[in-house]
Symmetry: C2
Subunit: 184 residues, 2 copies
């Protein structure tokens, strides 16, 4: 079965193919750049983008949206993680959290899947905390300031393989695949 993956990111396509190809799904990249709306939750953003794609290309597809959410900052930068990273960076996050002890944070990913009939949402997340200073030079985005639960290293201090064990994207993808395979 063919599945369009709406994304401009080749690495995401590779990761999806690795998991979907063995199950007989052919993942075809389509870079349609759907608009992302301003909303409070990833679910709303992904749903709007998926509806936009469905209107233009009504064959089965999926797309993914993700973000970094800091509890004590009321979820900031959240849905706007990319923009916040571009403007104030992870140093901005550390600055906002100076002297704050509650460091709880999470990476979250949501996949919207259109099956030719309706749109389904799948979520994956990684719980953890914000470090007190940036560490490591691997990864990208907020990786240097995020320590997943059960670890003392930041994402940026891990190898891609180690980091993948915690992947919010991977988890959303697994939940999506479970639905494809078992309908639950």
């Amino acid at each position: 079965m063919e599945l369009h993956f709406i994304t401009g990111n080749d690495n995401k396509v590779k990761e999806a193919r690795k998991k979907l190809s063995p199950l007989g799904y052919e993942v075809i990249q389509k870079d349609m750049d759907p608009p992302e709306i301003q909303a409070d939750s990833l679910e709303e953003v992904a749903m709007f983008s998926a509806e936009w794609v469905r209107e233009r290309s009504p064959t089965p597809f999926f797309l993914e949206d993700s973000g970094f959410f800091v509890d004590v900052l009321n979820g900031f930068p959240g849905v706007y993680s990319a923009y916040v990273f571009k403007t104030i960076g992870y140093m901005g996050i550390l600055r906002l959290m100076e002297g704050i002890e509650d460091r709880d944070a999470r990476f979250m990913a949501v996949i919207a899947y259109y099956d030719g009939n309706e749109i389904h949402l799948f979520r994956g997340e990684v719980l953890g905390r914000v470090s007190y200073e940036p560490r490591g030079d691997g990864g990208f985005g907020y990786d240097p300031i995020f320590i997943p639960d059960g670890e003392s290293r930041t994402f940026a201090e891990m190898s891609p393989e180690e980091k993948n064990m915690f992947s919010h994207r991977g988890r959303a993808l697994e939940s999506f695949i479970r639905y494809l395979e078992e309908g639950v």
Copy 2:
């Protein structure tokens, strides 16, 4: 001539009526809540919202979008001012700017006007600077930390009438009216 004003904000409608009614325009409020996309500029956000409204209600209308832009933060919070206010507040902005001397900032508003044929954009802005601490209890949003050029008081320390003299919304509206009246 009837003009729909797409907004859920009664105060904005009042302000627009005050300026447009004497010129013979009847401003009719329509609360359609168009989606706002994630983008780098207010122009892109307003244009997308206007196209969305045009598809659903193709009679002449206008809508407005605004934000607070801090130069040294690369325009942050900008297009996402409302969300940033809700999560980290103006204290978050002050925190990000601790020890920073370049305080240049601006309020910006963009009006998108659909004339029945095409969409036109009008911009208004107020230049100023970010205060070192919040002052005043008038206004709303970032008013307590914004000092317009030529003043020593923040927006929140001014009466509504005084603040209106600097209004980015007012300026966008004037530019819009000039176009309506003179076609330039």
